[in-house]
Amino acid sequence: MKFPLIISTVNELVRVYPERIVYISSDGNYSVMVLHDKTEHLFSFNLSHFQQLIEKQLKADASLFIRIGKGLIINREYIYKINVGKQALILSDMKIEHTFVLSASKEALRQLKGLVENEMEKR
């Protein structure tokens, strides 16, 4: 990624390269951004606003991120394992030592699985 994502609020500014964002989760009217080193940033706006911010700044590169339901935006590069039966989504990659175990609905995970499989076929 060439440009960092700049998240500016009234009192602070966070500048982060998109590839370092593992996922962003919703906490009501707040959003929690989790980075590859498990650093968490809490923002006082909701996930939809966060989504708009990503799409506005990253434009075509926003496709790096996938929105899952109302509560989650994940970085597709970190998708490590999708277990539909256990409703588990594990985010990781070879470069980081942590894994992030998230939960989503079976239908959402089924769709996500289909999405990743389709991309594989297009290669």
């Binding site: 075509a60 926003a62 496709s63 790096l64 929105r67 899952i68 339901g69 609905s105 239908e107 769709q111």
Partner: protein, 281 residues
């Protein structure tokens, strides 16, 4: 959280994956709504003169009025005298007329008007209408000391006796008329009222599906009036402003008869129950 939103997966920068399906459902819902509205409009236009209990909130079935008059019959007020229990009554049968409330007395030159008389009482202290009063859906007064009511929906009258607001709410929601008065007879039973003394009494009464204006020729107690109406066979009767209050009715296009005493300066908020011809001649 809604299930479909919970299940939605979207690559950022693109439209939601199932957005088309959602839009389709939205379209189907809108189309269904429009279809229902169209069907309602068609149904109402076909049954325009039959607003009956099916379309109304919970009210006793026995006091519903359907339009009982054949559409081709002429509007008419037919007066006759009768007596029962020594109570002498003038009975005005209302034929082929539709009702409405008005805040001003119509001109006698308006030949579509066949009967005009005062509906709800006015308080002498604050000059406000006594009890709930709704004019074309607009509530002008509140109160439930008088539990009887007359709701006028598309010209048709419904009489009842309840403190609940279903009919009033319906009248407000649908731009109809509604007022409260003392119930005299409901479902064929005399209703007790605390109003004392004797006076010329008037009532709006229902027998089967026909409506009548009744006036006593002499000063009567409320109870004697109620009893007379009940014994005459009226199933429902609601008190109207009596005494010497001014009213008039049309015998024919050229003949107007007056009741009570004309007052050049009626109290503010004086309101009228007006019966007009269903078809303008």
């Amino acid at each position: 959280m809604r299930r479909d939103e919970e299940d939605e997966v979207q690559v950022l920068g693109t439209a939601p994956k199932n957005g088309g399906r959602k839009a389709l459902w939205r379209l189907i819902a809108i189309a269904t709504g429009v279809l229902l509205i169209v069907l309602c409009v068609i149904y109402l236009s076909v049954n325009k003169e039959e607003v009956t209990s099916e379309s109304l909130p919970e009210i006793p079935a026995s006091i519903q009025q359907e339009n009982p008059l054949p559409a081709d019959s002429l509007p008419e007020v037919r007066a006759q005298a009768d007596s029962i229990n020594d109570v002498v009554l003038t009975i005005f049968a209302l034929k082929n007329l539709k009702a409405e409330l008005a805040m001003q007395m119509p001109e006698q030159t308006d030949t579509s008007v066949y009967f005009v008389l005062q509906a709800a009482d006015i308080r002498k202290d604050n000059k406000q209408i006594v009890g709930d009063f709704v004019l074309r859906g607009k509530q002008l007064s509140r109160g439930k000391r008088k539990t009887g009511y007359c709701a006028i929906i598309q010209g048709n009258i419904t009489l009842g006796n309840t403190i609940n607001d279903d009919m009033k709410a319906y009248s407000i929601a649908n731009g109809c008329d509604f007022f409260r008065q003392y119930p005299l007879v409901m479902n064929g039973e005399i209703q007790e009222n605390r109003l004392k003394g004797k006076a010329i009494r008037r009532a709006l009464a229902q027998q089967n599906q026909d409506f009548y204006i009744i006036e006593t020729q002499n000063r009567e107690s409320m109870y004697d009036f109620s009893e007379a109406l009940c014994d005459m066979g009226f199933t429902n009767a609601l008190y109207l402003v009596g005494g010497s209050s001014y009213a008039w009715w049309r015998e024919d296009a050229a003949t107007v008869n007056e009741l009570g005493v004309y007052n050049q300066n009626p109290l503010p908020n004086t309101n009228y129950l007006v019966f007009r011809a269903m078809k303008i001649n």
